[in-house]
Symmetry: C2
Subunit: 356 residues, 2 copies
Amino acid sequence: MKRELRNYASAILLLSLSYITLQAQQKPNTKPLIIAAQGTFSAGGTVVKSEGVFDPLKPWNLPQGGQTRHGDHADVFYQIPQKAKHHSMVFLHGYGQTRRSWQTTADGREGFSDQFLRKGYGVYLVDQPGRGEAGQTTKPAQITAIPDDQTWFTQFRIGLYPAFNEGVQFPKDSLSLDRFFRMMSPNTGSVDETTIVNAMSAVFDKSGDGILFTHSAGGAPGWKTAIKNDHVKAIVAIEPGGFAFPEGEVPEGNRGGRGIPLNEFMKLTKIPIVVYFGDFIPKDETNAASLNFWRKVLATGRQWAKVVNAHGGDVSIVHLPEIGIKGNTHFIMSDLNSNEIADVITKWLKEKKLDK
Amino acid sequence: MKRELRNYASAILLLSLSYITLQAQQKPNTKPLIIAAQGTFSAGGTVVKSEGVFDPLKPWNLPQGGQTRHGDHADVFYQIPQKAKHHSMVFLHGYGQTRRSWQTTADGREGFSDQFLRKGYGVYLVDQPGRGEAGQTTKPAQITAIPDDQTWFTQFRIGLYPAFNEGVQFPKDSLSLDRFFRMMSPNTGSVDETTIVNAMSAVFDKSGDGILFTHSAGGAPGWKTAIKNDHVKAIVAIEPGGFAFPEGEVPEGNRGGRGIPLNEFMKLTKIPIVVYFGDFIPKDETNAASLNFWRKVLATGRQWAKVVNAHGGDVSIVHLPEIGIKGNTHFIMSDLNSNEIADVITKWLKEKKLDK
């Protein structure tokens, strides 16, 4: 009975502390944002045409020939603060996500885009072709809508569902989980990597010189965007799923696809690149498929950094637990310690003179 | 030869005038926006569960039981200016569209949301369940991606493709058309009206008292949102596709569905409502299916206004050509004369004391 009471008291204390922490973290930034310009545009994309003649008197005789379909573009929302720095920031989400990844957090705080906007950067938030508001595509898709929240919870290293990882920087209340799951978004068409890279390059044509932030599956097209467009002056990659190796040097199991010609690869040696990995990535093979997945990705990332740097590049792989930052999931930029992560990135940007 | 020269000179003059007009209209508003708060959230939605037990060690054995799927929510981006008015504005797009309808125009100018934000209104921009960034749904969808741009061009009364309507308030350059077509976005799931209404009501729970702007297919769920949530203090409906009649008074061919109980309908008599229709809606039956469609909708709208007003309501149907505003398409809020339209609406809001 005594022990029960003590446990009960501890639980109350813990709950209160969590609540206070949550309140402190959720306190909105009350300083107003001064926006010199904001807007939306589409970038890149394709146009397909159907054979035949369109009859404007019967527009609903579908499928009716003689028509076009504009699709496969990226969709961009941008905001430029007053006295903006020279370098903009362009944000590309990962698989199953939209720009929401960067705009908010599971517990409803400001995302990276608002945080860096407040620091004086113009921000360009992308929905990649076939996702979110870039929904119009030229190739069909079947959306199955099968229940898979727990697959993502597990794949994103929040925990091995229903268990949360110990010390995880992710809110455990049901409202936050609800918010997080509702940020998922399906593919609305079949879109290949080249289409994404072309669209991202078109975004940089509009943004001008900028720092490319990528997350997860956005990583692989991110490297190729930097190769394609000289306005990409740096890359901050959050747990990229794959890497761009030169032909002949691709390790087995790399998810970044086939090797690229050396002269293209060399462009990646001309810009500073930092890659962050979170916590709960085991050193050794385990029986959890999701953890083995990330173990291999981190290993490939370290190998890739060696190759780029051997060719004269400037890539840092930061495995956060090694610098004392623990508990991060795959969503490092929106975890509970996202302010601390933003500070780490800000320091790197300053070191690389990208804060002008 | 003389006539040809004269025609040529006229053409040059016309082109120059168009260019000057375009330049004047495209001049960006250079005053900065002072944003007290901005952010994103999801509203409403459902959760489905699959039978079985989830195995976190093999998260990718899909379809794997014991999982949830959170979907069918609306997705909202909001901005609150400093010293915001009491009434917010909530914007609901039409079929095949997202919040982009309100954020920008075919010729790349500021949309209604920025215009009214500058006038001091908080703005809540919705992607309805199964559209844009509210892409996650619980019922499957097949996206066919068939070419249908010309169907929409015609249905939206830009013209009978490839002809533009004479005097149409729509830019005729290819870049603007490209922009316009790329704002289309497919359904990512099967979503019923009740789900949309519930999500919209949840948006008003967050926005508080507000003015609901609807466009096209957003019209029908808009009426029911006002019936469901007392925070809806007025409706500005741009060419709503259907209307909510009381049971027993539904005219044939109304696209707003079955009649609703009189006690629910009566809520629509308690708030001011204005409905705008653009140009090119013929008085008589024609051989163009799209024009007949809008002819019937306008006639039904006039009939509906009579019913609401007979029950003590305050509905105005404004057929813009009748007040001297000509050339508007179905996209009244983003046509070339959108500034003039915003002024007309602003005057109405003032009359109804909704500008506080």
